[in-house]
């Protein structure tokens, strides 16, 4: 290291305080309220799933970078940590530990490092792993544990379907929404988190708190989450207004399932979302629309993960066609 006293470089000579690491850790902090809620509801198993996911993600990133790719390791930049947490938040808390490890390998090894590492991946790594596990191990990935508080179960069975699952199945068998409303949690229960589902998608309130923290800290902009949630609300609202007996109301769709988790934490992943504000809006509309289509007409009860992955594939196209307006050019739709 040279110790010459005078340093020379090109301008600018000052830099803002924002670093990638700070952004990652801010997202981790924003996820803490949701984590606490799930600890309360699912007990120690929530902690175990999260810890295993984090440790295995960090482990795989270190091992693959050092011994397979033979490049410098980047585990301290916080992205593997974040991937681990988000992966855990998409899993049921009773999932076998070895499945979590397989999921981490897919998330880090396949979805992130084989594309070139941080910044080069096209698909959200945590969602790739979740979908992989869902397709490979459908039974374990869809038997959601019922929340247990103070050793008393809040439901009759030990495991069951999520509220969205109950609604989907019920409607398929010809039941109406009024009949189903006794089987699903009420809106306030969904809001607070007293229902079944994956570790992260429980409490709308906790997730919204985290989302507001991210908006205030300017880690994400409002364009993706608000547009996505609005799209879901509007589309399901139209169907519900037309036929309230066979379609659930929009607030149910917003708070049951992974819509809020997806809107604030998964769709807003910086690497896999568009770079311009215009592009982000189109992206979010697409996610919302595909989610609603899958939920209402598709085979799966929940569509957020698939919707986000499909729109991730379209992001390079969105970036190409939705360029920022150049200074001095009239506002018009610019095709490149």
């Amino acid at each position: 290291m040279h110790m010459e006293t005078i340093v020379v470089s090109a301008s600018p000579h000052i830099h803002s305080d924002r670093t990638s690491r700070k952004l990652m850790y801010d997202v981790v902090i924003a996820l803490v309220p949701a984590f606490l809620v799930s600890l309360y509801l699912f007990g120690i198993s929530a902690f175990i799933v999260t810890a295993v996911a984090i440790i295995s993600c960090l482990f795989f990133e270190f091992v693959i970078q050092k011994y397979v790719l033979k490049t410098a390791t980047t585990i301290s930049d916080g992205s593997a940590l974040l991937t681990g947490i988000l992966l855990a938040f998409n899993l049921p808390s009773n999932i076998p530990v070895w499945m979590i490890i397989v999921g981490s390998l897919v998330a880090i090894g396949i979805a992130k490092l084989s594309f070139g590492g941080l910044g080069f991946n096209i698909f959200n790594p945590a969602l790739v792993a979740r979908v992989f596990l869902l397709v490979s191990f459908p039974v374990q990935m869809t038997s959601w544990p019922s929340p247990v508080v103070n050793n008393t179960s809040l439901a009759d069975a030990v495991t069951g379907a999520t509220p969205l699952g109950i609604v989907k199945e019920g409607l398929q068998y010809g039941e109406t929404m009024t009949e189903l409303s006794s089987k699903i949690p009420s809106l306030s229960e969904l809001f607070l988190g007293i229902s079944g589902g994956s570790i992260g998608e429980m409490s709308g309130l906790a997730l919204l708190l985290g989302g507001i923290y991210l908006l205030v800290r300017r880690v994400i902009s409002w364009h993706i989450p608000i547009t996505m949630l609005l799209t879901i609300a509007v589309m399901t609202g139209i169907f519900w207004l037309v036929d309230p007996l066979h379609y659930a109301d929009p607030l149910f769709h917003l708070f049951a399932g992974g819509a809020i988790l997806g809107a604030f934490f998964m769709a807003t992943d910086l690497v896999t979302s568009p770079v311009t504000r215009k592009g982000m809006v189109i992206f979010a509309v697409g996610i919302g629309a595909i989610t609603v289509v899958i939920r209402l007409f598709g085979a799966y009860p929940e569509g957020v993960s698939f919707a986000i992955l499909i729109m991730n594939a379209l992001v390079p196209l969105i970036n190409k066609y939705f360029k920022p307006r150049r200074f001095g050019e009239k506002i018009k739709f610019k095709m490149v």
Binding site: H2, E4, I6, V7, V8, S9, A10
Partner: protein, 295 residues
């Protein structure tokens, strides 16, 4: 059950047959005629695709050779005179003969002789550093040490010496394609004539500052003192802007300039070591002339 197997096999066979017919018809209808000579000439070329000839690749150069009337201006530096002669025979055209050349780095400013006076922070690329500022030392003409030339070399003939922070050219592997010369933003690398046993004499400096200032920035700088011109019997050395230049075509490698250069700015490579001069100069004049002639 067997029905579906038969149907599948027949259907795929028919589709395959249709596709084959379509491909055949298209390949015949859209056939592009290419002069078979081009492929033959391409086979003679070294297939390096280095753009040293000026064309983007060997195939494109072969095309140019076949389709141009007068190819005396075209030359493949990697293949050299041999390859050009065989192409000339095949095409029945006349080619030029060029003396072989080799890339030479004309800067000796390593860390120990050219001290650093500032610390530069920025991308590790000579093109960008040269644009932004004049270098980490006081010599604004010397090598920047970021290795654009090494990256440009496709023949693995260059590497960066970590201790001196200067690039090294492996003359055996150098094909004179000229990529490093274009890559260097300061024109420090030059194509000089390749001599037998790879003997080289050149001025290892590009500093155009006045002598005193040049010497302060680098111990081995050329100070423009003209002592080399005085001893050169072939007139191969010229001085312009306080900097000497040895013309490789007129230099006979006698090494007289190397001896008199006060800053050791002139470099000689691959020469055998000189015989020691006897301490009594007066008596040994006859022997000295003989040993110099041997060298």
């Amino acid at each position: 059950m067997t029905e579906s197997i038969i149907y599948s096999v027949v259907l795929l066979a028919v589709l395959g047959g249709l596709a084959a017919m379509v491909l055949y018809a298209v390949s015949k209808k859209f056939y592009v005629y290419e002069n078979p000579l081009i492929a033959e000439v391409e086979a003679l070329l070294p297939a390096a695709n280095c753009a040293g000839c000026g064309s983007p690749g060997c195939k494109s150069f072969a095309d140019k050779l076949v389709n141009t009337e007068d190819i005396s201006a075209l030359f493949c530096p990697v293949g050299g005179n041999e390859v050009m002669k065989s192409i000339a025979e095949k095409l029945g055209k006349v080619v030029a003969e060029k003396d072989p050349t080799v890339a030479v780095l004309r800067c000796q400013g390593s860390c120990d002789v050219r001290p650093k006076t500032s610390l530069f922070q920025g991308p590790k690329s000579c093109a960008i550093s040269a644009l932004i500022y004049s270098g980490e030392t006081d010599c604004q003409y010397g090598c920047l040490g970021d290795g654009d030339c090494v990256t440009a070399c496709k023949f693995d003939a260059m590497y960066m010496d970590e201790s001196t922070e200067l690039p090294v050219i492996i003359t055996d592997k150098c094909t004179s394609c000229g990529a490093c010369v274009t890559a260097c933003p300061r024109n420090i690398i030059e194509m000089r004539p390749r001599n037998k046993r790879d003997l080289k004499i050149y001025v290892g400096c590009l500093n155009e500052d006045k002598g005193g200032i040049a010497k302060k920035s680098c111990e081995l700088a050329c100070i423009g003192c003209s002592k080399c011109i005085d001893v050169c019997t072939k007139g191969a050395i010229t001085i312009e802007n306080n900097l000497a230049y040895i013309d490789g075509l007129h230099c006979t490698l006698c090494r007289k300039c190397v001896e008199v250069c006060p800053t050791h700015s002139i470099v000689e490579t691959n020469f055998p070591p000189r015989k020691e001069k006897k301490p009594e100069i007066k008596e040994a004049t006859q022997e000295s002339i003989k040993t110099e002639a041997d060298a």
